[in-house]
Subunit: 407 residues, 4 copies
Amino acid sequence: MKKHNKLKILNDPIYGFISVPSEEIYQLIEHPYFQRLRRITQMGLSYLVYPGAHHTRFHHALGCLHLMQKAVQVLRSKRVAISDAEEDALYKAILLHDIGHGPFSHALENRIVKDVSHEEISLSFMEALNLEFNGSLTMAIQIFKGKYHRPFMLELISSQLDIDRMDYLKRDSFYTGVAEGNINSQRLIAMLNVIDDQLVVEEKGLYSVENFLSGRRLMYWQVYLHKTGIGAEHLLQSFIQRALELIAQGISVSLPDTLKFFLTSRNLDFKNARVLDRFALLDDSDVIMALKMNRNHKDFVLSELSKMILERELLKIKFTKKQTSPEKVEKKKQKLQQQYGISDHESSYFVFTGQVTNSAYAKAKPIKILSKSGKLTELIKAGKEESFKALANSVTKYYCCFPKIRD
Amino acid sequence: MKKHNKLKILNDPIYGFISVPSEEIYQLIEHPYFQRLRRITQMGLSYLVYPGAHHTRFHHALGCLHLMQKAVQVLRSKRVAISDAEEDALYKAILLHDIGHGPFSHALENRIVKDVSHEEISLSFMEALNLEFNGSLTMAIQIFKGKYHRPFMLELISSQLDIDRMDYLKRDSFYTGVAEGNINSQRLIAMLNVIDDQLVVEEKGLYSVENFLSGRRLMYWQVYLHKTGIGAEHLLQSFIQRALELIAQGISVSLPDTLKFFLTSRNLDFKNARVLDRFALLDDSDVIMALKMNRNHKDFVLSELSKMILERELLKIKFTKKQTSPEKVEKKKQKLQQQYGISDHESSYFVFTGQVTNSAYAKAKPIKILSKSGKLTELIKAGKEESFKALANSVTKYYCCFPKIRD
Amino acid sequence: MKKHNKLKILNDPIYGFISVPSEEIYQLIEHPYFQRLRRITQMGLSYLVYPGAHHTRFHHALGCLHLMQKAVQVLRSKRVAISDAEEDALYKAILLHDIGHGPFSHALENRIVKDVSHEEISLSFMEALNLEFNGSLTMAIQIFKGKYHRPFMLELISSQLDIDRMDYLKRDSFYTGVAEGNINSQRLIAMLNVIDDQLVVEEKGLYSVENFLSGRRLMYWQVYLHKTGIGAEHLLQSFIQRALELIAQGISVSLPDTLKFFLTSRNLDFKNARVLDRFALLDDSDVIMALKMNRNHKDFVLSELSKMILERELLKIKFTKKQTSPEKVEKKKQKLQQQYGISDHESSYFVFTGQVTNSAYAKAKPIKILSKSGKLTELIKAGKEESFKALANSVTKYYCCFPKIRD
Amino acid sequence: MKKHNKLKILNDPIYGFISVPSEEIYQLIEHPYFQRLRRITQMGLSYLVYPGAHHTRFHHALGCLHLMQKAVQVLRSKRVAISDAEEDALYKAILLHDIGHGPFSHALENRIVKDVSHEEISLSFMEALNLEFNGSLTMAIQIFKGKYHRPFMLELISSQLDIDRMDYLKRDSFYTGVAEGNINSQRLIAMLNVIDDQLVVEEKGLYSVENFLSGRRLMYWQVYLHKTGIGAEHLLQSFIQRALELIAQGISVSLPDTLKFFLTSRNLDFKNARVLDRFALLDDSDVIMALKMNRNHKDFVLSELSKMILERELLKIKFTKKQTSPEKVEKKKQKLQQQYGISDHESSYFVFTGQVTNSAYAKAKPIKILSKSGKLTELIKAGKEESFKALANSVTKYYCCFPKIRD
């Protein structure tokens, strides 16, 4: 990896500085494909609940790059062999692992672009960049696709204890101000090791891992699955769906061009440079603009949905242990139909049920703990205490959304 | 002031929690006029330099509300009489003091709406809200207009040591990660007092004031007047100007409706509810969208400007002690004219000079220091040391912007 | 409560400032009984593991005073009636709740002064101060003794979710740098309420309580029950015990006068002003000095113990699921006896076993959760999820201490 | 430098973790000479003003070790050649640079051990350790003595912008809670470079250096020269002086043995291993114990001084622009003489004058700024603005100490 002449550093409120390890990685950051991430919020509409949560995919990707440098440093100090080429590939893979996210990240995933996950789009971006950078991303792509022969490299990028999660939990906790989720990424990284090319955690990091997982679970309840946030995301998804519905009925809906293109095209091939370039023009502002363009649309549903989001007149939402009975839902819908003279189908945009599930830890892809004697044990077995077992529990909550009654 | 039944609190990464002091103030926050501030960035395009700087006018206003509550608490503990009505008015005035900001805050002030300052628009919003809230903002408006008989109340909102600055310096320092500007608002507020209805600082807070002012001066050099940021703002302003120029020539420029309305109307009366309501629909996304809509405009200048901002292909900028000679500027322009076949006027969008001035402290509106013996002295006199005198110094730097030479 | 003329504030790295709510409380802080807490470390010998852990009982008591002010403010904002006299009593009770701690806090409790807990000594101090302050601590003492008719006041001072724990967990986490234990005291306090004079937590604070309890459990494993720390405390306790043993055998041991007095007296009456005054002269320095005075004592055990602590040549310690077998212990002791020519009894100062137990939450004295509908439920029932049940689990670990083998 | 098998890390509330770069450096830290620094407070009696300021010389030395590792990393990334042997020497030199400090650091320097500075004692310790570590500290000693041929290495350890200051300002600001002094060591280090073996700062770090120097100046006024702290240190120094005076008069004064030895010996040779070993037994607890042993000494002055410190019954102190007139001082002394029946000499322990001087920057040993064009300029010239000039100003304040009048 060619060092550059100058140390390039970027300010980060969390880590202080993020240094860019090479000239080429600097060029990747400068690339329009990557710069667009500055206009894509990390946490969807969470800022309607946590007013500080305006950080972007751009900053998260840089944070990951920072932590990956720390991880490489720690592992090498423990005599894990990582070649310069592998180091470079790890940095590129983590930097670009989320480059395929579209407007509002997860909130609109599979809504604007159907049937293509953000990971697949990330891969298309990486491949396009690989062409442009003369094949220098080949190893990064192999790692990202899980085809590199040393599995720990993918585990650093995508596993239950990966660099991605370490940065986003810390970052989201920081910007939302939900201090309970502030995990200790520095300590977690210091506890990493590699045995037989698998990522493991040293035994003395056991409680830090538990804290990480329970912090993550808490962030899900308090932030990612916060009822107001869920309600807001439903509205946004419904807005898109209603727009499509109207268009299908031949009713005109004003939309920014690029957004309209993606909403109305199907089976797009992201390996096609034109498609990719066009996708690279899409960001949060298209969606905000679409909302504003339809504030006064003659369709009651579309205009209501856009106003509700823009003016934060969100739905009420109740969490319950059991599903709300269809009768209750029906009653609420009927009330609404009467009040506004809308159809059953239209009322279902405002009254609906759903469920969320939160599981801190999946035993299927275990976190491995390295004992002092060199033995590898799966986390829950290693932890022994009840609190570790509890992490594997998956909890489901049901909810019902409906509008506030306006007098 | 009517307390509410529940304690409403909002998360803030800086202060932990911000509590909303009354039901009515909560309703002001919920109002669409105020909610729109969620879509207006506090620091214009500074995020192109400091990737964390995506915080909004919304959050800043809440931060001010928080600090004002602290200030009222401190002053009352020092036996400064503040009635409940005055307390309420202070909260409303500080909450709404910046509500008139448009897209990208200062970066586009007087560019989208000409000849009307954001303070005037703030006042129009307050007056509209006062109608809606049955006159309950009357005292807040008096304070804001400097017509209330106790001057310290305006000084808390607008002076060289006001709550506004205390929050924005702390907040901007926090989100940019420029730790040097992290002023100690908690201590500054603890040192405030009121003598004869004037705001003063107790003597033992002298060095904290110095630190505040020199921190502010440093934030100007490092952040607000950062050369890359200045260059980016010029590009944005030029984009608007070029769009207007083309429209005047009868050349079509795609723009979101609301933005087009404000750009092409003149002498708008913000006391007119329709104008105000329309302005309330304007935010950062209109400008971003305008940039994206003109990426491929046939006008070289307009399309270049939009791409430069969107892809962060910014101008080079050099700071100098003296103004760059007209000859040098001319030479750079000519080179550009030849390279791209553009006119002298068109080249002036890419090559130009300017200047910035930074003064930490203006003696004209002095900060008053209260000695232990009860005497009031102006800051520099009270401070005595050279470093205090230096604060009153105003420093001007010149710059020249020009494009990177692409090979 | 008489407000003072000036706002007295003390710096605190955690909360920024701590303000002293009244002149009388300021006088309590100034009292020599309280000032001595400046010389008593909060965490015993934990600084041998965490070099930052040098904070004192003095600072912890002030931190509690700060949080209690926040709690009173929150509860009053929720319309819980707290009279000025009760407010004053709460501040005094929390300020003085730990004033009876002796050198190295818990590490030497019941070792220097036998059969008298630090709470009893705290009470004696409070009663002595009550005399001096003309009965103005009477209500504080009632609360502290659990004799005041409103139980929530004692619960604020001593319960599973009291102000004491909120400060010490946060403070100990801060000074040790064990970020995982950094609980969100601000949020916890904001969630407190009082129903029928009982302290309760509002439902939306459920996960914060869980986080608090699991943070506490983690602090026990990582800090309070850290194996190196436990080993060090054993050495210190053994040093005291050996000194007493030698004195009982008529062998001279050099000790500072005050320490000698307490070590060699029995059945002391702390209601006796002379005893109390003398105890007030005792602090960490007496113990450090005692160690240094006996570095070269002719008794092998005493001199070894003092050197081991002073030079941090600590015992090795192994944690195990089951108790180490007596045979193994015996073998280690015999080896030591041979190596140093010491008796079986003497070797037991260096080779011994023990156990520690960690339970995050005791159902016996439940934390009560207030649902939105106004129902009170015990924490685990309210939390439902497995992770809450796990908190009530108590975990025991066994250990064996023995010296490093020097070659 | 031999890497160790395990990564040794120490917790630090400021930097998170401090890693120990080699096994040998770990052994230096484990050495009793170094472990004693755990019992020597960094800031003398400042904790009587700032209750959090109980951090130790031990922790400061580790903090310096951490920052030096960062500095080496930054400089190497800028292609400054630093051999492994030089790296090792830098770490050892910074770790041990303050090992010679005695009880209460600067507060009692030249009071307990006369005519020998702490730097000289540091050197003696280093030389003793060099013998024990088979000459492996030779290069570190050369650097420390200024005899190594690359001057920047000493500048990293001792200059106006050295690692020592970067750590102690940050650390003292952190523990006192005086946020204004929180300098940005991370950024400062990132701006360092080496030209012709001299330490320089890159131009873009100019304002960070200014902020560092003005932060330091502020820490002097607010913390190191805080009037209460100065008064307290005078009392402590006077206590030692009075003890010596009484001993000289043949009056018995109880003192811990080691402290007595150093107070009553003269012209001690610290190259003598016995002297050094004995000095290594001295720490803060000896001084605290001495105070406590003489609380009831029959000498009024000695007993008063000890009680005043122990119970924080400090002198009043007034800062003035000009020296207090001898007449005023005389009057205060006479009043005291009458009140307590003490001599003129004795009264001078309680009434006296003094002065303090604060200069942020000494032009004599300039900080060099490296311009983009490669030119070196002295800081003030490079900074140009008035505020830089003001840094070179030296300010003197006078004070007068006297007892509070007790009624």
